[in-house]
Amino acid sequence: MRTLFKDMGLLLWLPITILLAWWFGSANSTSIYFPPLELILETFARDWLGPRFVTDALPSIGKFLVGFGIAAAGGVFLGMLIGLSRRLNAALDPLIQFLRAIPPPAILPIALLLFGIGASMNIAVIALGAIWPALLNTIDGVRALDLQVIDMTKSYRLSPAKRIFKVLLPAASPQIFAGLRVTLQMSIILIVVSEMFASTSGIGFYVLNSQQLFAVPETWAGTIVLGLLGYVATLVFVLIERRVLAWHRGMYNSLEKA
Protein backbone atom coordinates (compact mmCIF):
# COMPACT_ATOMS: atom_id res chain seq x y z
CA MET A 1 0.00 0.00 0.00
CA ARG A 2 2.77 2.40 0.92
CA THR A 3 4.73 1.57 -2.19
CA LEU A 4 1.61 2.14 -4.24
CA PHE A 5 1.21 5.61 -2.81
CA LYS A 6 4.88 6.28 -3.35
CA ASP A 7 4.57 5.24 -6.98
CA MET A 8 1.48 7.40 -7.48
CA GLY A 9 3.36 10.34 -6.00
CA LEU A 10 6.28 9.68 -8.30
CA LEU A 11 4.01 9.51 -11.32
CA LEU A 12 1.99 12.60 -10.48
CA TRP A 13 4.31 15.16 -8.97
CA LEU A 14 5.67 16.48 -12.27
CA PRO A 15 2.41 16.89 -14.21
CA ILE A 16 0.75 18.49 -11.17
CA THR A 17 3.70 20.85 -10.66
CA ILE A 18 3.62 21.88 -14.31
CA LEU A 19 -0.13 22.50 -14.26
CA LEU A 20 0.03 24.46 -10.99
CA ALA A 21 2.97 26.51 -12.22
CA TRP A 22 1.10 27.28 -15.43
CA TRP A 23 -2.11 28.13 -13.59
CA PHE A 24 -0.58 30.45 -10.99
CA GLY A 25 2.23 31.75 -13.20
CA SER A 26 -0.23 32.92 -15.81
CA ALA A 27 -3.02 33.95 -13.44
CA ASN A 28 -2.43 37.69 -13.66
CA SER A 29 -0.70 37.56 -17.03
CA THR A 30 -1.25 40.57 -19.22
CA SER A 31 0.98 39.23 -22.00
CA ILE A 32 -1.03 38.82 -25.16
CA TYR A 33 0.82 35.59 -25.98
CA PHE A 34 0.32 33.88 -22.64
CA PRO A 35 -3.23 34.45 -21.49
CA PRO A 36 -4.18 33.06 -18.07
CA LEU A 37 -4.72 29.30 -18.14
CA GLU A 38 -8.13 29.93 -16.63
CA LEU A 39 -9.10 31.99 -19.69
CA ILE A 40 -7.77 29.30 -22.06
CA LEU A 41 -9.80 26.64 -20.30
CA GLU A 42 -12.91 28.83 -20.30
CA THR A 43 -12.49 29.35 -24.03
CA PHE A 44 -11.92 25.65 -24.50
CA ALA A 45 -15.12 24.82 -22.61
CA ARG A 46 -17.13 27.48 -24.38
CA ASP A 47 -16.00 26.55 -27.90
CA TRP A 48 -15.30 22.87 -27.80
CA LEU A 49 -17.69 21.48 -25.25
CA GLY A 50 -20.51 23.23 -27.07
CA PRO A 51 -21.99 23.17 -30.58
CA ARG A 52 -18.57 23.67 -32.16
CA PHE A 53 -17.74 20.12 -31.21
CA VAL A 54 -20.47 18.96 -33.56
CA THR A 55 -19.84 21.47 -36.34
CA ASP A 56 -16.03 21.44 -36.38
CA ALA A 57 -14.57 18.60 -34.34
CA LEU A 58 -16.78 15.73 -35.48
CA PRO A 59 -16.28 16.38 -39.22
CA SER A 60 -12.51 16.58 -38.68
CA ILE A 61 -12.52 13.34 -36.73
CA GLY A 62 -14.72 11.69 -39.37
CA LYS A 63 -12.43 12.73 -42.25
CA PHE A 64 -9.41 11.60 -40.26
CA LEU A 65 -10.95 8.19 -39.59
CA VAL A 66 -11.99 7.65 -43.21
CA GLY A 67 -8.58 8.75 -44.49
CA PHE A 68 -6.72 6.58 -42.01
CA GLY A 69 -9.01 3.67 -42.81
CA ILE A 70 -8.27 3.94 -46.53
CA ALA A 71 -4.53 4.37 -45.98
CA ALA A 72 -4.39 1.44 -43.56
CA ALA A 73 -6.54 -0.98 -45.54
CA GLY A 74 -4.97 0.04 -48.84
CA GLY A 75 -1.47 -0.21 -47.45
CA VAL A 76 -2.01 -3.67 -46.02
CA PHE A 77 -3.82 -4.97 -49.10
CA LEU A 78 -1.32 -3.64 -51.63
CA GLY A 79 1.56 -4.59 -49.35
CA MET A 80 0.34 -8.19 -49.37
CA LEU A 81 0.08 -8.26 -53.16
CA ILE A 82 3.52 -6.73 -53.63
CA GLY A 83 5.13 -8.75 -50.86
CA LEU A 84 3.86 -12.03 -52.28
CA SER A 85 5.34 -11.44 -55.71
CA ARG A 86 9.07 -11.17 -55.99
CA ARG A 87 8.79 -9.67 -59.44
CA LEU A 88 6.16 -7.09 -58.52
CA ASN A 89 8.28 -6.06 -55.58
CA ALA A 90 11.38 -5.67 -57.74
CA ALA A 91 9.43 -3.68 -60.30
CA LEU A 92 7.78 -1.30 -57.87
CA ASP A 93 10.47 -0.83 -55.23
CA PRO A 94 12.26 2.24 -56.68
CA LEU A 95 8.96 3.97 -57.39
CA ILE A 96 7.68 3.32 -53.88
CA GLN A 97 10.93 4.42 -52.30
CA PHE A 98 10.72 7.71 -54.15
CA LEU A 99 7.06 8.37 -53.42
CA ARG A 100 7.41 7.67 -49.75
CA ALA A 101 10.43 9.98 -49.54
CA ILE A 102 8.23 12.95 -50.52
CA PRO A 103 7.13 14.72 -47.32
CA PRO A 104 3.37 13.96 -47.43
CA PRO A 105 2.26 17.56 -46.76
CA ALA A 106 4.05 18.59 -49.97
CA ILE A 107 1.34 16.91 -52.03
CA LEU A 108 -1.34 19.21 -50.57
CA PRO A 109 -1.31 21.60 -53.56
CA ILE A 110 -1.82 18.70 -55.98
CA ALA A 111 -4.74 17.35 -53.97
CA LEU A 112 -6.24 20.83 -53.82
CA LEU A 113 -6.05 21.16 -57.61
CA LEU A 114 -7.61 17.75 -58.10
CA PHE A 115 -10.35 17.85 -55.50
CA GLY A 116 -10.86 21.48 -54.59
CA ILE A 117 -11.69 22.51 -51.03
CA GLY A 118 -13.77 19.89 -49.25
CA ALA A 119 -13.78 16.63 -47.39
CA SER A 120 -12.62 14.57 -50.36
CA MET A 121 -9.43 16.62 -50.56
CA ASN A 122 -8.62 16.08 -46.86
CA ILE A 123 -9.32 12.38 -47.18
CA ALA A 124 -7.30 12.03 -50.39
CA VAL A 125 -4.27 13.68 -48.81
CA ILE A 126 -4.38 11.30 -45.86
CA ALA A 127 -4.96 8.25 -48.04
CA LEU A 128 -2.07 9.10 -50.38
CA GLY A 129 0.31 10.60 -47.85
CA ALA A 130 -0.06 8.18 -44.95
CA ILE A 131 -0.23 4.91 -46.86
CA TRP A 132 3.54 4.37 -47.12
CA PRO A 133 4.50 3.12 -43.66
CA ALA A 134 1.62 0.60 -43.71
CA LEU A 135 2.54 -0.48 -47.24
CA LEU A 136 6.28 -0.86 -46.67
CA ASN A 137 5.94 -2.65 -43.35
CA THR A 138 3.39 -5.06 -44.79
CA ILE A 139 5.71 -5.84 -47.71
CA ASP A 140 8.59 -6.50 -45.30
CA GLY A 141 6.41 -8.54 -42.96
CA VAL A 142 5.03 -10.71 -45.74
CA ARG A 143 8.46 -11.25 -47.29
CA ALA A 144 9.95 -12.26 -43.97
CA LEU A 145 7.62 -15.25 -43.67
CA ASP A 146 9.56 -18.26 -42.43
CA LEU A 147 10.38 -20.86 -45.11
CA GLN A 148 9.34 -23.66 -42.76
CA VAL A 149 5.94 -22.03 -42.27
CA ILE A 150 5.55 -21.80 -46.04
CA ASP A 151 6.45 -25.50 -46.33
CA MET A 152 3.91 -26.30 -43.65
CA THR A 153 1.09 -24.42 -45.42
CA LYS A 154 1.94 -26.19 -48.67
CA SER A 155 2.34 -29.69 -47.35
CA TYR A 156 -0.93 -29.49 -45.43
CA ARG A 157 -2.54 -28.08 -48.57
CA LEU A 158 -4.08 -25.06 -46.87
CA SER A 159 -6.56 -23.15 -49.00
CA PRO A 160 -5.48 -19.69 -50.25
CA ALA A 161 -7.95 -18.03 -47.86
CA LYS A 162 -6.46 -19.92 -44.90
CA ARG A 163 -2.95 -19.13 -46.03
CA ILE A 164 -3.71 -15.43 -46.15
CA PHE A 165 -5.96 -14.90 -43.15
CA LYS A 166 -4.70 -17.55 -40.75
CA VAL A 167 -1.02 -17.62 -41.57
CA LEU A 168 0.31 -14.73 -43.63
CA LEU A 169 -1.50 -11.81 -42.00
CA PRO A 170 -1.00 -12.94 -38.39
CA ALA A 171 2.66 -13.71 -39.10
CA ALA A 172 3.21 -10.25 -40.47
CA SER A 173 0.95 -8.54 -37.92
CA PRO A 174 3.66 -7.29 -35.53
CA GLN A 175 5.32 -5.50 -38.41
CA ILE A 176 2.03 -4.38 -39.91
CA PHE A 177 1.03 -2.79 -36.62
CA ALA A 178 4.36 -1.01 -36.31
CA GLY A 179 3.66 0.46 -39.76
CA LEU A 180 0.05 1.29 -38.93
CA ARG A 181 1.17 3.23 -35.90
CA VAL A 182 3.27 5.53 -38.10
CA THR A 183 0.44 5.72 -40.63
CA LEU A 184 -1.81 6.84 -37.77
CA GLN A 185 0.58 9.57 -36.65
CA MET A 186 0.95 10.75 -40.22
CA SER A 187 -2.84 10.74 -40.68
CA ILE A 188 -3.25 13.02 -37.66
CA ILE A 189 -0.58 15.38 -38.96
CA LEU A 190 -2.22 15.42 -42.38
CA ILE A 191 -5.78 16.09 -41.22
CA VAL A 192 -4.50 19.04 -39.19
CA VAL A 193 -2.25 20.36 -41.95
CA SER A 194 -4.78 19.89 -44.73
CA GLU A 195 -7.40 21.80 -42.76
CA MET A 196 -4.91 24.55 -42.13
CA PHE A 197 -3.87 24.60 -45.77
CA ALA A 198 -7.28 24.85 -47.38
CA SER A 199 -10.52 24.51 -45.50
CA THR A 200 -13.40 26.57 -44.25
CA SER A 201 -14.17 24.47 -41.21
CA GLY A 202 -12.61 21.89 -38.94
CA ILE A 203 -10.23 22.04 -35.99
CA GLY A 204 -7.14 22.81 -38.07
CA PHE A 205 -8.94 25.69 -39.77
CA TYR A 206 -10.21 27.01 -36.44
CA VAL A 207 -6.75 27.11 -34.86
CA LEU A 208 -4.93 28.73 -37.76
CA ASN A 209 -7.80 31.14 -38.35
CA SER A 210 -7.86 32.26 -34.73
CA GLN A 211 -4.11 32.79 -34.87
CA GLN A 212 -4.52 34.97 -37.95
CA LEU A 213 -7.29 36.91 -36.20
CA PHE A 214 -4.98 37.25 -33.21
CA ALA A 215 -7.54 35.50 -31.01
CA VAL A 216 -4.91 34.12 -28.66
CA PRO A 217 -7.01 32.19 -26.11
CA GLU A 218 -8.81 30.51 -29.03
CA THR A 219 -5.46 29.54 -30.54
CA TRP A 220 -4.38 27.94 -27.28
CA ALA A 221 -7.72 26.22 -26.84
CA GLY A 222 -7.59 24.82 -30.37
CA THR A 223 -4.04 23.57 -29.81
CA ILE A 224 -5.29 21.70 -26.77
CA VAL A 225 -8.05 20.11 -28.86
CA LEU A 226 -5.52 18.98 -31.47
CA GLY A 227 -3.29 17.58 -28.74
CA LEU A 228 -6.21 15.69 -27.22
CA LEU A 229 -7.19 14.33 -30.62
CA GLY A 230 -3.67 12.96 -31.16
CA TYR A 231 -3.55 11.57 -27.65
CA VAL A 232 -6.91 9.80 -27.76
CA ALA A 233 -6.33 8.37 -31.25
CA THR A 234 -2.98 6.91 -30.20
CA LEU A 235 -4.47 5.55 -26.98
CA VAL A 236 -7.26 3.73 -28.83
CA PHE A 237 -4.76 2.35 -31.33
CA VAL A 238 -2.45 1.05 -28.61
CA LEU A 239 -5.39 -0.68 -26.88
CA ILE A 240 -6.38 -2.43 -30.11
CA GLU A 241 -2.77 -3.38 -30.83
CA ARG A 242 -2.38 -4.91 -27.37
CA ARG A 243 -5.41 -7.06 -27.94
CA VAL A 244 -4.50 -8.24 -31.41
CA LEU A 245 -0.85 -8.86 -30.61
CA ALA A 246 -1.39 -10.43 -27.19
CA TRP A 247 0.14 -13.69 -28.50
CA HIS A 248 3.23 -11.84 -29.63
CA ARG A 249 3.87 -10.28 -26.25
CA GLY A 250 3.24 -13.62 -24.57
CA MET A 251 5.71 -15.39 -26.82
CA TYR A 252 8.28 -12.64 -26.41
CA ASN A 253 8.00 -12.77 -22.63
CA SER A 254 8.28 -16.56 -22.58
CA LEU A 255 11.46 -16.36 -24.68
CA GLU A 256 12.88 -13.69 -22.37
CA LYS A 257 12.39 -15.98 -19.38
CA ALA A 258 14.01 -18.96 -21.09
Partner: protein, 266 residues
Amino acid sequence: MIPLSTSTISTETIMAVEGLRKSYGEAQILDGIDFTVNKGEFVCIVGPSGSGKTTLLRCIAGLQAPTEGKTMFEGVEVTEPPAKLAVVFQDYSRSLLPWMTVQENVMLPIEGRFPKEELAERVKKALVSVGLAGKGKLYPWQMSGGMQQRAAIARGLAYNPDVLLMDEPFAAVDAQTRVELEDLVLRLRDEYNTTVLFVTHDIDEAVYLADRVLVLSGAPTSVTENIETLLPNPRNQIETKRLERYSEVRARVMGLIQAAKSHASI
Protein backbone atom coordinates in the same frame (compact mmCIF):
# COMPACT_ATOMS: atom_id res chain seq x y z
CA MET B 1 12.49 -67.12 -37.15
CA ILE B 2 12.08 -63.68 -35.58
CA PRO B 3 8.65 -62.15 -36.05
CA LEU B 4 9.14 -59.17 -38.36
CA SER B 5 6.48 -56.95 -36.90
CA THR B 6 3.26 -57.11 -34.97
CA SER B 7 1.74 -54.56 -37.29
CA THR B 8 0.93 -55.48 -40.81
CA ILE B 9 3.64 -54.70 -43.30
CA SER B 10 2.35 -55.70 -46.67
CA THR B 11 4.43 -56.04 -49.75
CA GLU B 12 2.32 -53.39 -51.38
CA THR B 13 4.44 -50.37 -52.33
CA ILE B 14 3.05 -47.07 -51.10
CA MET B 15 5.91 -44.84 -52.14
CA ALA B 16 8.60 -45.25 -54.75
CA VAL B 17 11.47 -42.86 -55.32
CA GLU B 18 12.96 -43.40 -58.75
CA GLY B 19 16.28 -41.94 -59.93
CA LEU B 20 15.83 -38.69 -58.03
CA ARG B 21 18.45 -36.04 -58.85
CA LYS B 22 18.62 -32.47 -57.72
CA SER B 23 21.21 -29.85 -58.55
CA TYR B 24 21.46 -26.11 -58.10
CA GLY B 25 23.42 -24.68 -61.00
CA GLU B 26 26.54 -26.79 -61.18
CA ALA B 27 26.26 -28.10 -57.65
CA GLN B 28 24.73 -31.56 -57.45
CA ILE B 29 22.98 -32.33 -54.18
CA LEU B 30 21.12 -35.57 -54.88
CA ASP B 31 22.69 -38.08 -57.21
CA GLY B 32 20.12 -40.66 -58.24
CA ILE B 33 18.13 -41.71 -55.18
CA ASP B 34 16.16 -44.95 -55.50
CA PHE B 35 14.09 -46.68 -52.86
CA THR B 36 10.60 -47.90 -52.11
CA VAL B 37 8.49 -47.87 -48.97
CA ASN B 38 5.90 -50.57 -48.30
CA LYS B 39 2.56 -49.95 -46.74
CA GLY B 40 2.76 -50.01 -42.94
CA GLU B 41 6.53 -49.93 -42.91
CA PHE B 42 8.69 -47.75 -40.64
CA VAL B 43 11.65 -46.59 -42.73
CA CYS B 44 14.46 -44.43 -41.37
CA ILE B 45 16.72 -42.43 -43.63
CA VAL B 46 20.02 -41.74 -41.94
CA GLY B 47 22.92 -39.80 -43.34
CA PRO B 48 25.81 -37.59 -42.30
CA SER B 49 25.05 -33.90 -41.82
CA GLY B 50 25.19 -31.95 -45.04
CA SER B 51 24.05 -34.97 -47.04
CA GLY B 52 21.02 -33.25 -48.53
CA LYS B 53 18.48 -34.99 -46.28
CA THR B 54 16.25 -31.94 -46.19
CA THR B 55 16.42 -31.51 -49.96
CA LEU B 56 15.45 -35.16 -50.40
CA LEU B 57 12.56 -34.79 -48.01
CA ARG B 58 11.27 -31.64 -49.70
CA CYS B 59 11.38 -33.39 -53.08
CA ILE B 60 9.50 -36.42 -51.76
CA ALA B 61 6.91 -34.20 -50.05
CA GLY B 62 6.22 -32.34 -53.28
CA LEU B 63 7.57 -29.07 -51.89
CA GLN B 64 10.34 -28.90 -54.43
CA ALA B 65 10.64 -30.24 -57.96
CA PRO B 66 13.54 -32.63 -58.58
CA THR B 67 15.88 -31.95 -61.49
CA GLU B 68 15.46 -35.51 -62.69
CA GLY B 69 13.55 -38.61 -61.62
CA LYS B 70 10.30 -38.78 -59.74
CA THR B 71 8.48 -39.87 -56.63
CA MET B 72 5.41 -42.06 -56.93
CA PHE B 73 2.92 -41.79 -54.08
CA GLU B 74 0.15 -44.38 -54.05
CA GLY B 75 0.72 -44.92 -57.74
CA VAL B 76 0.57 -41.25 -58.71
CA GLU B 77 3.57 -39.09 -59.56
CA VAL B 78 4.18 -36.39 -56.97
CA THR B 79 3.95 -32.93 -58.51
CA GLU B 80 2.43 -31.15 -55.51
CA PRO B 81 2.10 -32.09 -51.84
CA PRO B 82 -0.07 -35.29 -51.74
CA ALA B 83 -3.26 -35.14 -49.71
CA LYS B 84 -2.52 -38.34 -47.82
CA LEU B 85 0.95 -37.31 -46.72
CA ALA B 86 1.61 -35.33 -43.53
CA VAL B 87 4.95 -33.76 -42.71
CA VAL B 88 6.25 -33.22 -39.18
CA PHE B 89 8.94 -30.57 -39.44
CA GLN B 90 12.23 -30.39 -37.65
CA ASP B 91 11.74 -27.07 -35.95
CA TYR B 92 8.46 -27.21 -34.03
CA SER B 93 8.94 -23.66 -32.72
CA ARG B 94 8.71 -22.47 -36.31
CA SER B 95 6.15 -24.83 -37.80
CA LEU B 96 3.57 -24.38 -35.02
CA LEU B 97 1.89 -21.02 -35.39
CA PRO B 98 2.39 -18.94 -32.24
CA TRP B 99 -0.80 -16.90 -32.71
CA MET B 100 -2.96 -20.00 -32.43
CA THR B 101 -3.60 -22.29 -29.50
CA VAL B 102 -2.44 -25.89 -29.80
CA GLN B 103 -6.00 -26.95 -30.59
CA GLU B 104 -6.30 -24.36 -33.36
CA ASN B 105 -2.95 -25.44 -34.76
CA VAL B 106 -4.06 -29.06 -34.93
CA MET B 107 -7.37 -28.04 -36.46
CA LEU B 108 -5.92 -25.69 -39.07
CA PRO B 109 -5.32 -28.18 -41.92
CA ILE B 110 -8.66 -29.97 -41.58
CA GLU B 111 -10.90 -27.02 -40.71
CA GLY B 112 -13.79 -26.80 -43.14
CA ARG B 113 -13.39 -30.37 -44.35
CA PHE B 114 -15.59 -31.97 -41.69
CA PRO B 115 -18.68 -30.93 -39.77
CA LYS B 116 -17.95 -29.11 -36.52
CA GLU B 117 -18.53 -32.03 -34.14
CA GLU B 118 -16.39 -34.41 -36.12
CA LEU B 119 -13.68 -31.79 -36.32
CA ALA B 120 -13.64 -31.34 -32.56
CA GLU B 121 -13.66 -35.14 -32.13
CA ARG B 122 -10.67 -35.63 -34.43
CA VAL B 123 -8.65 -32.88 -32.76
CA LYS B 124 -9.44 -34.28 -29.34
CA LYS B 125 -8.50 -37.81 -30.36
CA ALA B 126 -5.17 -36.64 -31.83
CA LEU B 127 -4.34 -34.65 -28.72
CA VAL B 128 -5.20 -37.59 -26.47
CA SER B 129 -3.04 -39.92 -28.57
CA VAL B 130 0.03 -37.77 -28.16
CA GLY B 131 -0.59 -37.25 -24.45
CA LEU B 132 -1.77 -33.67 -24.65
CA ALA B 133 -5.31 -34.22 -23.38
CA GLY B 134 -6.56 -31.00 -21.81
CA LYS B 135 -3.67 -28.93 -23.09
CA GLY B 136 -5.44 -27.77 -26.26
CA LYS B 137 -6.15 -24.28 -25.04
CA LEU B 138 -2.48 -23.49 -24.36
CA TYR B 139 -0.36 -21.58 -26.80
CA PRO B 140 2.69 -23.44 -28.17
CA TRP B 141 5.08 -21.03 -26.49
CA GLN B 142 3.55 -21.85 -23.13
CA MET B 143 4.76 -25.44 -23.46
CA SER B 144 8.09 -27.27 -23.33
CA GLY B 145 9.91 -28.30 -26.50
CA GLY B 146 8.82 -31.91 -26.16
CA MET B 147 5.19 -30.92 -25.75
CA GLN B 148 5.40 -28.65 -28.76
CA GLN B 149 6.67 -31.51 -30.90
CA ARG B 150 3.85 -33.70 -29.57
CA ALA B 151 1.45 -30.99 -30.76
CA ALA B 152 3.09 -30.97 -34.19
CA ILE B 153 2.70 -34.75 -34.37
CA ALA B 154 -0.96 -34.42 -33.33
CA ARG B 155 -1.47 -32.01 -36.22
CA GLY B 156 -0.02 -34.62 -38.56
CA LEU B 157 -2.24 -37.38 -37.14
CA ALA B 158 -5.44 -35.33 -37.29
CA TYR B 159 -4.73 -34.83 -40.97
CA ASN B 160 -5.31 -38.60 -41.24
CA PRO B 161 -2.40 -39.37 -43.56
CA ASP B 162 -1.36 -42.69 -45.08
CA VAL B 163 2.27 -41.69 -44.72
CA LEU B 164 3.82 -39.60 -41.98
CA LEU B 165 7.02 -37.92 -43.12
CA MET B 166 9.20 -36.80 -40.23
CA ASP B 167 12.22 -34.55 -40.71
CA GLU B 168 14.65 -34.91 -37.79
CA PRO B 169 11.72 -34.25 -35.48
CA PHE B 170 13.59 -34.82 -32.23
CA ALA B 171 16.85 -33.05 -33.06
CA ALA B 172 16.06 -30.12 -30.79
CA VAL B 173 14.79 -31.87 -27.64
CA ASP B 174 16.78 -33.19 -24.71
CA ALA B 175 17.78 -36.86 -24.48
CA GLN B 176 15.09 -37.99 -22.02
CA THR B 177 12.29 -36.33 -23.95
CA ARG B 178 13.66 -37.85 -27.12
CA VAL B 179 13.35 -41.35 -25.70
CA GLU B 180 9.73 -40.71 -24.75
CA LEU B 181 8.92 -39.28 -28.15
CA GLU B 182 10.52 -42.23 -29.95
CA ASP B 183 8.29 -44.67 -28.10
CA LEU B 184 5.32 -42.38 -28.72
CA VAL B 185 5.91 -42.51 -32.47
CA LEU B 186 6.19 -46.32 -32.41
CA ARG B 187 2.94 -46.59 -30.51
CA LEU B 188 1.14 -44.14 -32.81
CA ARG B 189 2.29 -46.00 -35.88
CA ASP B 190 0.49 -49.12 -34.58
CA GLU B 191 -2.50 -47.18 -33.33
CA TYR B 192 -3.12 -45.27 -36.55
CA ASN B 193 -1.69 -47.94 -38.83
CA THR B 194 0.33 -45.38 -40.79
CA THR B 195 3.50 -45.74 -42.79
CA VAL B 196 6.35 -43.67 -41.38
CA LEU B 197 9.32 -42.25 -43.26
CA PHE B 198 11.66 -40.82 -40.66
CA VAL B 199 14.74 -38.73 -41.48
CA THR B 200 17.44 -38.47 -38.83
CA HIS B 201 21.18 -38.10 -38.34
CA ASP B 202 21.08 -40.13 -35.15
CA ILE B 203 22.15 -43.74 -35.76
CA ASP B 204 20.73 -45.16 -32.53
CA GLU B 205 17.40 -43.52 -33.17
CA ALA B 206 17.28 -44.88 -36.71
CA VAL B 207 18.08 -48.47 -35.74
CA TYR B 208 15.79 -48.45 -32.71
CA LEU B 209 12.78 -47.16 -34.63
CA ALA B 210 13.08 -48.69 -38.06
CA ASP B 211 11.94 -51.80 -39.83
CA ARG B 212 14.39 -50.76 -42.49
CA VAL B 213 17.27 -48.25 -42.49
CA LEU B 214 18.39 -46.43 -45.62
CA VAL B 215 21.93 -45.10 -45.31
CA LEU B 216 22.85 -42.08 -47.37
CA SER B 217 26.29 -41.17 -48.66
CA GLY B 218 27.81 -37.70 -48.33
CA ALA B 219 27.11 -35.13 -51.04
CA PRO B 220 26.29 -35.67 -53.83
CA THR B 221 23.93 -38.03 -52.09
CA SER B 222 22.81 -41.49 -53.02
CA VAL B 223 21.52 -44.48 -51.04
CA THR B 224 24.51 -46.68 -50.12
CA GLU B 225 22.73 -49.37 -48.13
CA ASN B 226 19.31 -50.70 -47.45
CA ILE B 227 19.31 -52.65 -44.18
CA GLU B 228 16.40 -54.55 -42.67
CA THR B 229 16.80 -54.30 -38.92
CA LEU B 230 14.88 -57.55 -38.25
CA LEU B 231 14.38 -56.51 -34.63
CA PRO B 232 11.41 -57.94 -32.72
CA ASN B 233 8.39 -55.79 -32.00
CA PRO B 234 7.29 -54.19 -29.78
CA ARG B 235 10.54 -52.35 -29.23
CA ASN B 236 11.81 -51.54 -25.80
CA GLN B 237 14.44 -48.95 -24.98
CA ILE B 238 16.34 -51.38 -22.72
CA GLU B 239 15.59 -54.86 -24.09
CA THR B 240 15.85 -54.00 -27.78
CA LYS B 241 19.11 -52.15 -27.33
CA ARG B 242 20.57 -55.15 -25.48
CA LEU B 243 20.02 -57.47 -28.42
CA GLU B 244 23.02 -58.66 -30.36
CA ARG B 245 21.18 -57.92 -33.58
CA TYR B 246 20.77 -54.28 -32.48
CA SER B 247 24.52 -53.86 -31.94
CA GLU B 248 25.20 -55.58 -35.22
CA VAL B 249 22.95 -53.29 -37.26
CA ARG B 250 24.12 -50.25 -35.33
CA ALA B 251 27.77 -51.07 -36.01
CA ARG B 252 27.09 -51.61 -39.66
CA VAL B 253 25.24 -48.29 -40.08
CA MET B 254 27.92 -46.50 -38.07
CA GLY B 255 30.62 -47.91 -40.31
CA LEU B 256 28.79 -46.81 -43.44
CA ILE B 257 28.23 -43.31 -42.13
CA GLN B 258 31.86 -42.93 -41.14
CA ALA B 259 32.94 -44.15 -44.53
CA ALA B 260 30.60 -41.64 -46.12
CA LYS B 261 32.00 -38.85 -43.98
CA SER B 262 35.66 -39.66 -44.64
CA HIS B 263 34.90 -40.07 -48.30
CA ALA B 264 33.31 -36.65 -48.34
CA SER B 265 36.18 -34.91 -46.59
CA ILE B 266 39.02 -36.28 -48.71
